[in-house]
Amino acid sequence: MSGFLALVAREVRLALRHPADTLGAVLFFVLVAALFPFGVGPAPETLARLAPGALFAAALLAALLPLDRLFGADAEDGTLDQLLLSGLPRGGIAAAKALGHWITTGLPLLAATPVAAALLNLPVEAWGAALAALALATALLSLLGTVGAALTLGARRGSVLLPLLVLPLAIPAVIFGAAAIEAAASGLSPAPFLLLLGAGVSLAAPLAPLAAGAALASE
């Protein structure tokens, strides 16, 4: 357990020393959200209608950005060999990487969500649901993305392959997440959709690290 925490702490510390990756993802998220008003015109109703889906697509694409370096950087400098020989189970290494990715990418995206939501003219009463849904969806993407990153490690054009593998799996997160925001915007309870998202995270939390660990083992 202490090894697991040490690995998570190292991921966070590295992200703090190299904030460019995190800032890049956050700026990408805000800029994509800012493109929609230009594309669909400034009519508030049209924009608010698009907002839940646009928010989700932008956030998930932004969270994908740092994923191809998740194992790649460690594989290049030899750290991955040391981690595999550290005595930590491979699934534990993958779980620490997924948690590290969520802390260094998912949380900053949540912090930027009010800005993106305002740009998309999302009704303020739906912001709470948007934050909750995005927190769960980015966690799911971190878990699925860790599997994708482990599978594409060492593959040529892995950075192209990775979104092709991961994004189709993230479709349920977009459906339920956007539905939760829409429900909140129209005064209904977002809870059923958030619970479904939570079920997805609880399913992926034990399974994805095992799959990613197995992919690392066969590397």
């Binding site: 510390r13 190299h18 400098d77 030899g78 040391q82 020989l85 550290s86 005595g87």
Partner: protein
């Protein structure tokens, strides 16, 4: 595949700790080596030599359990190490070509991450490789020889039975190679085994040589 004469050449399999049995390795349809066997008792050192591409690094990765041999097995006290790779991983330290350092972390932080995995104290390990004055510098500013010394300092952190060293002295100055001597001697005196791939002479007295 010739084995040089060490003082313990007569050591039988019974007293050997690390043994390779009929190892072969195939990389891209080409046999790198085949039918490789050796046995090492406590405190032994094995130096792997051979031309580039002879399979020295590959053999070290197989001994570490990072690669699976095409045939044969690596035995530890008579037991196949592939049966429990995690236990094998915990008893070994592997120094690869790459130094496995994060340029953004300081020298001490790089080492303390591994100390949190394996246990051990950072300060004595830094002192053993004469890195104490550099402890608070980011690893990014180190020279390649200093980075190698930091990678070597990992070996000193916490005791492990088996050291697998891939070109440990690359980039080191004469004084640092000399500093490595007592470190290797202390490890062997405690019963540890060293397997090192190298083109340069290493401070390993009575080492057996395996020419690949």
């Amino acid at each position: 595949m010739t084995a040089g004469n060490g003082p313990w050449t007569g050591a039988g399999l019974a007293e050997s700790v690390l043994a390779a049995r009929d190892l072969s390795c195939i990389r891209g349809e080409r046999a790198v080596f085949a039918g490789l066997s050796f046995a090492l008792p406590e405190g032994a050192a094995l130096v792997l030599t051979g031309a580039n591409g002879a399979g020295k690094s590959t053999l070290l990765r197989i001994l570490a359990g990072l690669l699976r041999p095409a045939e044969g097995a690596v035995l530890w006290r008579g037991e196949d190490t592939s049966a429990d790779p995690a236990a094998h991983a915990r008893r070994l330290r592997y120094l690869s070509h790459q130094d496995a350092l994060k340029p953004a972390l300081t020298v001490a932080e790089n080492l303390s991450f591994f100390a949190s995995l394996w246990g051990g104290a950072v300060a004595p390990a830094l002192a053993a490789m004469a890195l104490t004055p550099l402890a608070d510098l980011p690893a990014r500013v180190l020279s390649s020889g200093q980075k190698r010394r930091l990678a070597l300092a990992r070996l000193v952190l916490a005791p492990a039975s088996l050291w697998l060293l891939d070109e440990p002295t690359t980039g080191l100055d004469a004084a640092s190679v000399e500093r490595l001597g007592p470190v290797l001697a202390a490890h062997r005196a405690a019963g540890g085994i060293v397997v090192a791939a190298t083109h340069l002479p290493l401070p390993l007295p009575d080492a057996r040589e395996l020419r690949l």
